[in-house]
Symmetry: D5
């Protein structure tokens, strides 16, 4: 059951909207997707987890429906936990140019072992 990764997740599906209070006031936004699923690149079996994105926007906020479709691209994509978290972070930073943003992936147990990974970005 090996898995060809013909189609890489594409950040192009992400769309952003203007944050109306940009320059006036910061807002911290936490987005939680408990239905994230991807494939293990070694076994081809599905992994399940919760992805949590926490960010402070600069000019743009992410449109939630587009984020949902972005996450859906991982459904049949083989990727390790640690790299998925980093990739989601990079794609969101590229699209939103936020003041700061972090991504946490909390994955359901495999072989009895549960893993959580967190990567962070802060604008310099």
């Amino acid at each position: 059951m090996t898995q060809k990764n013909a189609k890489q997740p594409d950040r192009g599906v992400l769309s952003a909207m203007d944050y109306q209070y940009a320059g006036t006031r910061d807002i911290e936004i936490v987005i939680e997707q408990p239905e994230f699923t991807s494939l293990c690149p070694m076994t081809g079996l599905p992994d399940f987890g919760t992805i949590t994105v926490t960010y402070v926007p600069a000019q743009k906020i992410v449109e939630l429906k587009s984020l949902k479709y972005y996450f859906l691209q991982y459904r049949n994509h083989g990727i390790f936990y640690e790299h998925a978290v980093n990739r989601i972070l990079e794609d969101l930073v590229a699209v939103l140019s936020p003041k700061r943003l972090s991504v946490t992936g909390c994955f359901t147990p495999r072989g009895g072992i549960r893993t959580t990974a967190t990567a962070s970005y802060e604008k310099e």
Copy 2:
């Protein structure tokens, strides 16, 4: 099911009472409204969430019944999460002139995705 926003929420319904210990001692007040509901400006469908207001009053504290009626104005009003949180913050700051105040909106999942947003004010 598009939604005309004929009537904007009006901060005029908010009333304030004197804080009897003003100048003597600070008090931190947390108010939680778990029955907040507004409309999504894109679909016209209702959003549900919990609004939490945390503040330290200067001279005035908010009268709770008036706050309840203030929140009721959002029931048939179309507004994005992030802007509702900012608007509530602005209206309360205008009426109370508090030492500090923050507003958090924690909304029930849409498309499986849960969102929480927090905006803060601090008197300079």
Copy 3:
């Protein structure tokens, strides 16, 4: 159902005991009374809540039974949340002269809205 406040809560019922380790070692004491009830001064209807007292004694610790009777005095007394919290703080500080002391009142929802208030004292 308006309410005459003939009898004000009286701090005289509070009694204190010596803290045997005074001068040797600090102790932080947290006391929680989940059965606090008073009356709303506007409607005369009862309010219910949990009062939490956290303090570091100097020479004296409060005797718990006397504290219970002190809280009982609010049962038929009309007072706003924010003022009850401040009053309890003042009475306990007067009787105990503690190093620091805070009082939190967490009240059950009214009109769907839950309120928590915290006031603090620190010896200079």
Copy 4:
């Protein structure tokens, strides 16, 4: 039902073992005894609570079975909450000479009121 305290709790029953990584690496150890019981010195009635000991050993760690027997000595001993917490702290510090140690007692409600007390020690 008054209670004579003929036999004071004796720290002599506590035994300690060498901490093998002393000088190499600190370890923080948390020990929780949810079955602590003593007697109220005023009424002779039993009190129940959870004692939590948190410490960083220097050369010695406490042997758990001896700690259990140490706690058992309070079963028919009359002592106030605040003093029990301090006494346990003193006995453990005397036997272990730890880098730091704290004791928290969280007692079941009496007269509806719950009490928690925490005392701490830090080597100078």
Copy 5:
């Protein structure tokens, strides 16, 4: 039921993979094994607990399946809680050379007493 420790746990079974974002971005990884079991060196009876490893990799991340087999080696091995936590820390640090790493063992109650122990490493 004394226990000969013929075979010591062997860090050689641990394998590591490259962290693809090494030098670019830190990631904090939390791994939880709730099915850890070893033997008490005094009684030969089994201990049960949850081992939690938290680390920030430098160049290497641990391969989860190898970690699972590493933990399995403790199943018939007699060792005290505090030393197991330290040993796991040393083995993981030796194999991963992480930026920082901590190990917490939370063990099920014995004689009614629950113990938790935490050791930490930070690269200088």
Copy 6:
């Protein structure tokens, strides 16, 4: 602190409304009042509890606001748990003539002991 019971709770404050589906369809209604409080007739001290009323109406349903005021009458009334439950049952049966009705009182612990009492009525 003995308590004169000058004013007995009066079922006259209870009001009932027509059940519009009487004769067509049964409905089971569960009403929970978690803020019930009365006085212990022996000590005069307050008791707290949750009263749950479960009933199937015949022609009448209870008006909730009147029920709230009915319960308020117990606030300064001395009565044992078991009799309060029976009395509430009798008053509601008298006013509603329901098909069946039961009352459960679940009271907060006194002396560490929690009590729950349930009485039931069924129309013959």
Copy 7:
């Protein structure tokens, strides 16, 4: 804030689909809508609750999106709890002709009192 009920909830928005296993095997379906809201016909203020529908279909199953829109009609409609539950039951029975069906409404507390109501239908 009285409320004119110009537009009654209309069962015409409900649509049904064929149950493919009709005649072969029964299925019990439980549908839970935790975001139900209507208006109190006396005060015009919103009520909030969870509606649970449990049924065994005969030939038809309800289409979930149409059910969502059906519930939305109550948002600005004034109706008592007990009647809302009965009305929803009647509308669903009319559209689905199920073998059996029940509706439970569990409403958030008003005046501290929580109400749950259940009505049931069974085909003769």
Copy 8:
């Protein structure tokens, strides 16, 4: 640490009151004592558990304070779980002559193993 059982628990401390609704209506009463403790007759070490008494009185109900003192007699008494449950049942039946009565003891784990025992009586 063997234990002489000089003083057997004495049912004489139990007192009963008239049940005012005897002959009119049954009431089911559940009494929960979560602070029960006795001694293991083999090791002399304390056992802890929750005793739950459920009964329907005939003419008498148990006075709660006397029940508390009755349970206190087990504190320094050595008895097996299964026999304690039976003995409490016999003593309560003797004093109350109830319509039916059951006793459940749920004891905290020993050697990792938790035990619950239930005995029942029904008047013929």
Copy 9:
């Protein structure tokens, strides 16, 4: 994003083992798969849910790894909740010929609405 169902889930991947106590004693087996996911046939979007299988074997028990692979076949398959539950039931009955078997699917909310469906089989 419509979905072609080229490959139907195939019961051929299910394998069974002998139940060693067949004819001697019944055993009830409950299997819970909380990571079930399929596609909505109308929108092509993923559904998530927990499938619970409860059965009493006759001669055969299901091999768990094969069941896991069987469930995996639904990952990219479009099917309604109610039909998925029925289909899984039919496939397991065909392979196991159990004495009785039921399947429950509890799906995560869509549009705020949660659905649970249960189908059952019993050998005549």
Copy 10:
């Protein structure tokens, strides 16, 4: 990592005590061992679970310490869930000759799938 089952679990380690109320009154006893572990006969890897034994004794009750040692024998023994449950039931019935007895094994997830199995015995 295949596993030779040289030593089968031996019911000889189980010991029983007289039930003092035999012939007088039934008692239902529930024993829960949450630290059960055995080996999977296919992979040699450990399984973890909770074993619950529920029984009504005739003449004998099981001695808990001997039961603990009995369960320990499965630690390095390879056996399927369903057969372990049956074997424990047979061994306990053989030693206790109870009126009735059931054994439930609730095992931690493997491959994301959780299994529970229950077997029962009743004296004819």
